[in-house]
């Protein structure tokens, strides 16, 4: 039942995506062009990276609300390390990513060591990390990065936006990890029954710690890409990105209660949202109409797959 219904949700979603793509390309002839689609890939990379890590976190039955704040903190640190501390930019970015990763690690420690439920822990660090970003930045933005740095966020490699390669790589690696490795298996097991996982000798704590750290890392990498894309750092970067990422993840069929979910689902969910945002805009529908529609699609997609699942199995 489990596996079958998983496949079902993702198939359903993929079908929906195809339909949406077809309908939207009839609405505007500028929608289904290679240029536009690649460009959309560029725009969804940051959310995508975060959503991939979030898929793991949610599959263990956890959640990470602090990713937006980690993104902001890392962005600020990149700028501060480079401009105020005077580190070479690659070193500064690496150090900032390390700091963002550490922020994720701290989440993990609070959750595994002190046994604070993830939602509460990351609600608290959401405030803390954003506050640190504001404090460190002293409300100043750092600008004027060297031209080469923009390769990451604004240029192409082999005709494809640079950051899209990163997203693709992350998606492939993450799907393989989740589907075929012991680590992925542990994620699902912990998400379905943490106690039994511990009794089976799985390293529950270590896995969770690693996941929240990875989530911090993903947000940190997204931050550097973001800075490169928009050429500046601001302490309010990434505000609210957590809800967008969670939307993509649950739309992709990951159970908020843990135990199930796939990377491919998340990616389809992301694409669906991005296609709607872009395609509806090209079709002349305003932003507020689009977000309403995305809300409706989220509810209806989960509803539809619930109905399918139920008609197949239990009473």
């Amino acid at each position: 039942m489990n596996l079958r219904s998983l496949i079902r949700h993702e198939t359903l979603l993929a079908l929906l995506l195809v339909i949406v793509l077809i309908v939207l390309s009839f609405q505007s002839d500028r929608f289904f062009t290679v240029d536009n689609l690649l460009n959309q890939g560029r725009l969804m990379t940051e959310i995508g990276l975060i959503a991939i890590a979030m898929t793991f976190v949610i599959a263990t039955g956890g959640i990470d609300l602090s990713v937006g704040s980690i993104l902001g903190l890392t962005a600020i640190l990149t700028g501060v390390f480079w401009q105020n501390v005077g580190l070479p930019l690659p070193v500064a970015a690496t150090a900032a990513i390390a700091a963002g990763t550490f922020a994720g690690f701290v989440n993990g420690v609070i959750i595994t060591r002190f046994r604070v439920p993830p939602l509460i822990a990351t609600l608290a660090t959401l405030a803390l990390y954003r506050g640190l970003a504001e404090g460190i930045s002293q409300a100043r933005s750092v600008r004027g990065y060297p031209e080469w740095f923009y390769v990451l966020g604004q240029k192409d490699v082999l005709g494809v936006p640079t950051q899209l390669w990163i997203l693709l790589l992350a998606a492939v690696v993450a799907s393989i990890i989740l589907a075929y490795t012991t680590w992925g298996r542990t994620v699902y097991a912990v998400g379905s029954n943490e106690v039994a996982s511990r009794f089976s000798g799985l390293s529950v704590e270590k896995t969770k710690l690693a996941l929240y750290t990875a989530s911090g890392f993903a947000a940190a990498v997204a931050a550097v890409i973001f800075v490169s894309r928009v050429s500046t750092t601001r302490s309010d970067m990434g505000t609210g990105i957590e809800l967008d990422a969670i939307t993509a993840v649950v739309l992709g069929g990951t159970s908020i209660f843990g135990g199930r979910g796939t990377i491919i689902g998340t990616i389809i969910g992301l694409c669906l949202i991005q296609a709607l945002k872009n395609g509806l805009s090209l079709a002349g529908i305003k932003g507020d109409g689009t977000i309403m529609l995305i809300g409706a699609v989220l509810i209806l997609a989960i509803l539809a797959s619930n109905l399918f699942e139920r008609s197949g199995t239990r009473t």
């Binding site: 500046t232 970067m237 945002k277 507020d288």
Partner: protein, 347 residues
């Protein structure tokens, strides 16, 4: 604590303490140019207006101005679409979509001058005419910017109004949206420079953040009143959200007359307080005019009648507007609304 250290590191340029107008140094055109823009002279153009965010009174007003202008010209097909939060990312994404959909012109009010630059340059690269208003981008990322009032002009008007109300030795505090909001940060920086230069004995107590949240603005204003007691003589509201909320706080604390509120705000939101005499003067340009002017500037750019080196531009009923700082067009001096004139405005 008292000194403002936020915002950017740009130099301040306080005006003279008396009414001597600033002598603007002539500057060559420093805006950008669209590549291979088609000839749009006289043709109906499709324009999108992307404000910082939609859903607040101020940008409703600018949007109305743009619509008015479009109707008046008859050759502009304009619509407003903006992010629901003042968020750099959403704004960039929206503009990107409109570039793809193929508009002829983009009007924008930037959430961040630098963050928006890459996408605007992309628009220029696609042959689209780009004009900013309200909040500027880096100059080379757009063609022209319609400046509602120069930062130092606003600063002077605000500080002078406050000084008139609370005297040259009064203490005041500031309620702003966030320290990172570019316009507000610049205004505060200019206010500080101007105050130090022209009203050196005024006491600068502190600056608090209140997002774009009117209840929080209200609470923060109350906290300031409670904290400083009689020492506090005035509150500056730096946003059209903070100013009415500060006025409400003063009203509800029964401090009308003993705590002055000076700030930027739309007249409609301020009518009750100005009418009740609790607030004497509100500073703002007319945002409807701002939008109106921006639309005319865009039309002129598309027609080729506003080209680098021009010194003025015709903006419908507003008449001739002059070019400053190379590629900016000045709307005029800010309006100071008071009991006598506030009811003449509706926005």
């Amino acid at each position: 604590q008292s000194v403002w250290t936020g915002g950017d590191d740009l130099p301040t340029n306080p005006l003279a303490c008396d009414a001597t107008p600033a002598t603007a140094a002539a500057k060559p055109y420093d805006g950008g140019q669209p590549t291979n823009a088609p000839d749009r002279k006289g043709k109906t153009i499709k324009v999108v207006d992307v404000p910082k965010l939609v859903g607040i009174g101020y940008f409703n007003a600018t949007s109305k101005g743009i619509a008015d202008a479009a109707k008046e010209m008859g050759t502009m097909d304009a619509k407003t679409d903006g992010p629901s939060k003042a968020n750099i990312d959403d704004q960039v994404t929206l503009i990107d979509n409109y570039i793809t959909s193929g508009v002829d012109g983009i009007l924008f009010a930037a959430n961040d001058p630098v963050a928006i630059a890459p996408v605007l340059k992309k628009a220029l690269g696609a042959g689209i005419n780009v004009v900013g208003y309200d909040a500027n981008s880096s100059p080379d990322a757009r063609q022209w910017f319609v400046n509602q009032a120069e930062f130092n002009g606003i600063a002077k008007a605000m500080v002078d109004s406050m000084a008139t109300e609370i005297g040259d030795e009064g203490a005041f505090a500031i309620v702003t949206s966030t320290f990172t909001t570019p316009n507000q940060a610049r205004w505060i920086a200019e206010m500080q420079a101007y105050q130090a230069k022209c009203h050196p004995k005024m006491k600068w107590l502190e600056t608090v953040e209140a997002q774009e949240d009117n209840i929080l603005s209200f609470n923060q204003s109350n906290t300031l009143i409670n904290k400083y007691g009689d020492e506090l003589k005035g509150i500056f509201g730096m946003t059209s959200v903070a100013t009415p909320a500060a006025a409400d706080a003063v009203t509800q604390a029964k401090k009308c007359g003993s705590v002055a509120v000076v700030g930027l705000a739309t007249p409609n939101a301020m009518k009750p307080y100005v009418g009740a005499g609790c607030v004497k003067s509100v500073v703002l340009w007319n945002p409807v005019d701002l939008g109106y002017a921006a639309a005319f500037v865009l039309r002129a750019v598309a027609d080729g009648s506003l080209a680098p080196g021009a010194t003025s531009v015709k903006a419908g009923k507003l008449g001739d507007l002059s070019v400053i700082n190379g590629s900016e067009i000045l709307l005029g001096a800010p309006t100071v609304f008071n009991k006598d004139n506030i009811n003449n405005f509706d926005f």
